[in-house]
């Protein structure tokens, strides 16, 4: 092939592929436009096909020319209003359009493609209305047509011939004409008869039964059978009258009423309907698109094509080169900026400002050339959904929002496949069948919404459906049945973790693997693709009301705003898209803000516990912390971030160094970068945080591809290299778990579960004996060395924040084995009777939520309030208040006197069915100086009230109780004239909004979460105070 020809070809391919994708959306618009056809729409499609035909002819692409020509003919008729764009016609055009696309994509072999079927199909569209009898000699897909009684009449009739007539509003009949009786004996002849026939009907096929005729010399037989397959607008009565053929010999085969465009079902069946007339759901998808501005376009303009602005085609190679240059310029700029800092001369300042400005502008401009609207990807989805819905028999409305949002070309190209998969998933797995939807009280027509929008410097694309949602339980079950994990492990998963299972390789959620989306490659591929683009995928789902997949993508891949952090001597870049916030914890606050739970360190951040990872540990590099002058750097030997007192404890250091170290400790605040990715949110502890920079991403070589913590590298302004951190990879390397969105990640409040549970801090004293402390009592946990603890008169005291904290050892007060000496130890600080007190805890094990199935009897002794069994270990729960009582009875006496002194001995009626909670709460409230009467359920409480032995000031009640629940009790109290003044506080582990609402409806004065001691007491005080002041 000559060079010139080659160029022509590639120009043709480029132009045609663009044009064809436009045609598709236009055709779909044609289909939905019905009667109010936009002539411009048809014209546009016509012109496109016409020019394509012309070029193809010129280059010698015969087959493309042929198909384009035939499509053009059909379009021409639509344009001149001679043919209406019925679904059948559009279908035929779409099929041709697909074929054209396929041929253009493989232009070399296009001349050897067989398009006869498509051409015939298009021809039949034309013949159906405009050119009767112009049937094509070429074979369409043949069908056999039977008589009503089952005898075969016509062999291999072209399907298209029948369908196009039906779609043109005709009835199709088989007429049995007796040439002797109906024609000859009426004084007519066959030619005359057919001439009359043509006036009222279109002949599709005819057949003369010559078998019964016999030889010429024989007399004419009783009848000569002529069988005609024809379409007419007349009904069978009119047709028979017009032909003069008895009605019993006119057989109806297909009518437009059965179905707009199939011949499938009516009794005299056309067997083996070909694919293009398969069962069609009556709901063609109503593709609806919405401009980013929010205004809805008129119906006729729906699924608007991407408007082509005047564009210049730039070779991608050149573009990439430009990008690299811009990148280098950014580097040079960085270098210059750094130079400015060092030399601080004014001239350089001016130059660098200019370079800075120019670079940024250049970068922006070049970036613009690469930006494309996501609409170019979104626009193919109306078709995808339309085809899918037809195939599945579902109903679906696709809403497209924000197609004008722009993304980098490489990203646009790469998200096509993942998005297609997700959209298919939504329709296939997400949406229910119409009847199921109706039964669930939903609109039978499902809704899939595709939305692109900017947020926080990222592009978000969400695909949401209002379907069935994803069942976490089902996913767990499936994971177990597929052998992906053990049953125990599955039950441990949080809901969010379970949902994330769909990203596990080889996971398909549909009950049956359908040929639509269940192809074995699934969400894992989607996720990998998105992650490769530097993006994230998250799934949110609500059972029964739908799922949303949220994709977050960077605007561009080439230049990435990042934060440079340092660990030891290495620099690392954290993509800013992953960063939530940066926290600096002053060294004084470190001990308070950072806690150790078991082996993990957590950061207290606005009442939330957040896992933190030391970057040096995660990457296995040395961490340094430098003294103020930066001259000496020493390896950080602190194993525990909470332990900031190292300087004081190493007495073997010479005094000068000790001072230096202390100095560096105070200057050494902790930098924590809070990052978020793929559902993980955690803190990364780094040595120092540098400036944010726009970095040029350089890929790592093939020997370094497998490192999960790294996403690439970049060259910094000083020419050194910083590795780019992969936030998701670090999380998975450190085996962080994904917390469920709705659960508190470790506070004292248990999950909003129906079971009553409380969270316990589990620890060992002697290695073989486990104890637990109710976490809600704990103020904080300190790590101290033995030498900080003094013994004064048999009492251990910790000098702590300028006060002395009395310490309790477990073995001195409870029958327990003495611990093996450990140093340092943990001190659990709690408050009792308004004072602080500490328990020495040699080794922490875990914090976990356990059911309130507490055995309050078996291991009972002073200081132990019950026991539970967790993983075959008996764990004794220590009553901190009791211990404090043993240690410092005088505190409680003081408190009581204090309470009495206030002249109001407050009596509280407590209704609580769990003896464990009842006794704990009694102790808590008694320690505050209240008088408590405990009752096992609401009924007993009510009867206690009725006995009137005590005059109560307040009722504290659980909600879930046998015999009479808390709400009933409250209603009884609030409706009784004698007791209705009694304030009621409900305590429960169910703290959901609806529970609170129903509690309030019953008349509850306040609602408190069980075990939140401080709040409960505050609430009691407030309510009592209110009553007193009212009184």
């Amino acid at each position: 092939m000559s060079l010139e020809q080659d160029e022509l070809l590639s120009a043709f391919v480029m132009e045609s592929s663009e044009n064809l994708s436009d045609i598709e959306s236009d055709l779909l618009a044609l289909e939905t436009a019905d009667s109010d056809l936009d002539p411009e729409l048809v014209n546009r499609v016509f012109r496109t096909v016409h020019s394509m035909k012309g070029t193809a002819n010129f280059i010698g692409l015969k087959v493309i020319n042929e198909l384009a020509h035939e499509s053009e003919n059909v379009l021409n008729l639509i344009r001149s209003d001679e043919l209406s764009p019925t679904p059948a016609v559009v279908e035929a055009l779409l099929a041709s359009c697909d074929q054209l696309k396929a041929m253009v994509d493989d232009i070399e072999n296009s001349n050897s493609v067989d398009v006869s079927a498509l051409v015939a199909n298009l021809k039949s569209c034309i013949s159906g209305e405009a050119a009767p009898g112009a049937t094509s000699a070429e074979d369409d897909e043949g069908v056999d047509v039977d008589m009503p009684n089952g005898t075969l009449v016509f062999l291999d009739v072209r399907q298209g011939d029948i369908t196009c007539r039906i779609s043109a509003g005709m009835n199709v009949f088989i007429v049995e004409v007796d040439l002797v009786v109906d024609v000859d004996e009426k004084g007519s002849n066959p030619v005359e008869f057919l001439r009359g026939f043509y006036k009222i009907a279109e002949l599709i096929e005819s057949y003369v039964d010559t078998a019964g005729l016999g030889e010429l010399h024989e007399p004419l037989p009783e009848g000569i059978g002529l069988k005609i397959l024809a379409g007419t607008k007349l009904d069978s009565e009119g047709f028979s009258a017009a032909l003069g053929v008895p009605q019993e010999r006119v057989h109806l085969i297909g009518t437009p009423e059965d179905n707009p465009w199939t011949v499938a079902s009516p009794t005299p069946a056309v067997s083996a309907p070909p694919a293009n007339s398969g069962a069609v759901a009556d709901a063609a998808p109503r593709a609806k698109s919405e401009a980013a501005s929010g205004q809805k376009p008129s119906k006729a303009k729906s699924s608007a094509p991407v408007r082509r602005e005047s564009t210049v085609r730039v070779n991608v190679e050149i573009l990439d080169h430009l990008m690299n240059l811009a990148g280098e310029l950014v580097l040079a700029r960085n270098q210059l900026l750094q130079m400015k800092d060092q030399t601080s001369e004014r001239d350089i300042g001016g130059v660098s400002a200019r370079v800075d400005q120019v670079t940024s502008e250049l970068q922006d401009a070049i970036m613009q050339t690469r930006m494309q609207e996501v609409g170019s990807v979104f626009n193919k989805f109306p078709r995808v959904v339309r085809d899918l819905v037809k195939k599945l028999g579902k109903q679906c409305e696709l809403e497209v929002i924000g197609q004008h949002v722009e993304l980098d070309k490489t990203i646009i190209e790469a998200i096509g496949d993942p998005l297609t998969h997700l959209v298919r998933n939504s329709v296939d797995h997400g949406l229910e069948m119409p009847d199921v939807r109706t039964a669930a009280g939903k609109d039978p027509c499902g809704k899939v919404c595709l939305k692109a929008f900017h947020q926080g410097g990222k592009i978000n694309i969400s695909i949401s459906d209002d379907g069935a949602g994803i069942s976490a339980a089902k996913l767990k079950q499936k994971a177990v049945s597929k052998g992906l994990m053990s049953e125990e492990k599955a039950t441990e998963l949080t809901d969010q973790e379970a949902i994330n299972l769909i990203f596990h390789p080889g996971f398909s959620t549909a009950e049956q693997v359908s040929d639509v989306s269940g192809r074995g490659v699934g969400m894992d591929v989607v996720r990998t693709n998105i992650l490769n683009l530097g993006g994230t995928v998250e799934v949110e789902t609500e059972l029964g009301s739908g799922s949303t997949v949220l994709i977050k993508l960077p605007l561009t891949l080439a230049i990435m705003p990042s934060l440079i952090v340092r660990v030891g001597r290495s620099s690392f870049a954290v993509p800013q898209t992953n960063i939530n916030e940066i926290i600096r914890i002053m060294s004084d606050d470190v001990a308070e803000r950072i806690k150790r739970v078991h082996d993990a360190e957590v950061l207290q951040l606005r009442g939330e516990l957040m896992p933190i990872i030391r970057l040096s540990d995660a990457l296995g590099v040395d961490s340094f912390y430098e003294s103020k002058d930066g001259a000496e750097a020493s390896t950080d030997r602190r194993h525990d971030l909470a332990d900031r007192r190292e300087g004081e404890e190493h007495e073997e250091h010479p005094p000068r160094e000790d001072v230096a170290r202390r100095e560096c400790n105070t200057s050494n605040a902790l930098s924590v970068v809070i990052v978020e990715s793929a559902g993980h949110r955690y803190g990364v502890v780094v040595d120092s945080v540098d400036d944010p920079q726009e970095i040029v991403v350089k890929p790592l070589g093939r020997h370094l591809r497998g490192i999960e913590c790294l996403a690439g590298a970049t060259v910094l302004g000083d020419g050194s290299i910083a590795l780019i951190l992969d936030v998701t990879g670090i999380a998975s390397k450190c085996q962080l778990r994904v917390p469920s969105r709705d659960t508190d990640t470790g506070g004292a409040v248990s999950t909003a579960d129906d079971r009553e549970s409380q969270s316990l801090l589990i620890f060992t004293n002697h290695p073989e004996e486990k104890f637990a402390l109710p976490a809600s009592f704990i103020t904080r946990i300190e790590r101290v060395t033995k030498d900080q603890i003094d013994s004064v008169g048999g009492q251990f005291i910790l000098q702590y924040r300028g006060k002395s904290l009395p310490l309790i050892t477990i073995e001195d007060h409870i029958s327990a084995r003495a611990p093996e000496p450990t140093d340092p130890v943990n001190v659990v600080v709690f408050s009792a009777a308004g004072r602080e007190c500490g328990v020495i805890v040699p080794r922490l094990v875990d914090i976990r939520d356990v059911d309130a199935e507490v055995d309050a009897e078996t291991l009972k002794e002073p200081g132990i309030i019950g026991s539970i069994v967790v993983e075959n270990d008996a764990i004794r729960i220590i009553g901190l208040l009791e211990l404090a009582h043993i240690l410092k009875p005088d505190w409680f006496e003081e408190k009581k006197q204090h309470a009495v002194k206030r002249g109001h001995d407050i009596k509280i009626l407590l209704a609580e069915d769990s003896s464990f909670f009842r006794s704990q709460m009694t102790k808590v409230l008694e320690s505050e100086g209240f008088a408590i009467t405990g009752c096992e359920d609401g009924l007993i409480a009510w009867n206690t009230l009725l006995r009137r032995e005590t005059e109560f000031d307040l009722v504290v009640t659980d909600i879930e109780m046998p015999n009479m629940n808390g709400l009933e009790l409250t209603r009884k109290i609030k409706t009784d004239p004698e007791f209705k003044h009694l304030p009621v506080i409900a305590v429960t582990s169910l703290a959901r909004d609806e529970d609170i609402a129903s509690g309030r409806a019953a008349g509850v004065d306040d609602y408190q979460v069980k075990m939140d001691r401080a709040k409960l007491i505050a609430s009691i005080r407030k309510i009592i105070g209110d009553c007193v002041s009212v009184a």
């Binding site: 350089k698 093939r702 020997h703 370094l704 913590c709 020419g719 590795l723």
Partner: protein
């Protein structure tokens, strides 16, 4: 041309030039066409989590280049304690990517006929035969000629200890 080399993997047709270098006491050669440049001092930045035969990454005029410690890759026992007097980094171009090979010393460029190259002696270098193209004898020295592409596909676990 390409067919020819494919068919006779261990024989190089015509004359070819090899850049030679030393790792430990061994001399190696690679096709000079695969060498982009040789650098004297290249600041290398360690990559946490990288295989142990990777020294790290270096900034080669704006490109991030992986540098490989040939001694470790080929499992050549070196004197660990020995002071590093000016190693060199041979930058090779392979599969559209620059990769640095850290070597102890750079030797001459040798030009040789295909006939001078002997097939790798089965007892000499127990390297992966894919990596070793052949052996060239010059003035009594043995130069092991390496295939760069194969070399860079070699994982440290795949290579074996060199025995002479």
């Amino acid at each position: 041309m390409s067919n020819e080399t494919n068919n006779t993997e261990n024989v190089i047709p015509g004359r070819s030039q090899f850049a030679t270098f030393f790792v430990g006491e061994f001399q190696f050669g690679i096709d000079i066409l695969a060498v982009r440049e040789i650098n004297r001092r290249l600041d290398t930045y360690g990559v946490p989590g990288a295989p142990d035969y990777v020294c790290g990454v270096a900034n080669l005029r704006g490109d991030v280049v992986t540098t490989i410690d040939l001694a470790k890759l080929l499992k050549i026992e070196g004197d660990e304690g020995e002071v590093d007097h000016g190693h060199r980094v041979v930058i090779t171009q392979s599969l559209g990517e620059a990769v640095g090979l850290r070597v102890d010393r750079v030797g001459d460029v040798v030009t040789c006929d295909a006939s001078d190259i002997e097939p790798p002696p089965p007892n000499a270098l127990a390297l992966d035969l894919q990596v070793l193209k052949g052996v060239y004898k010059s003035d009594g020295d043995l130069i092991a000629l390496l295939d760069v592409e194969e070399l860079l596909q070699l994982d440290a676990t795949g290579g074996r200890v060199v025995e002479v």
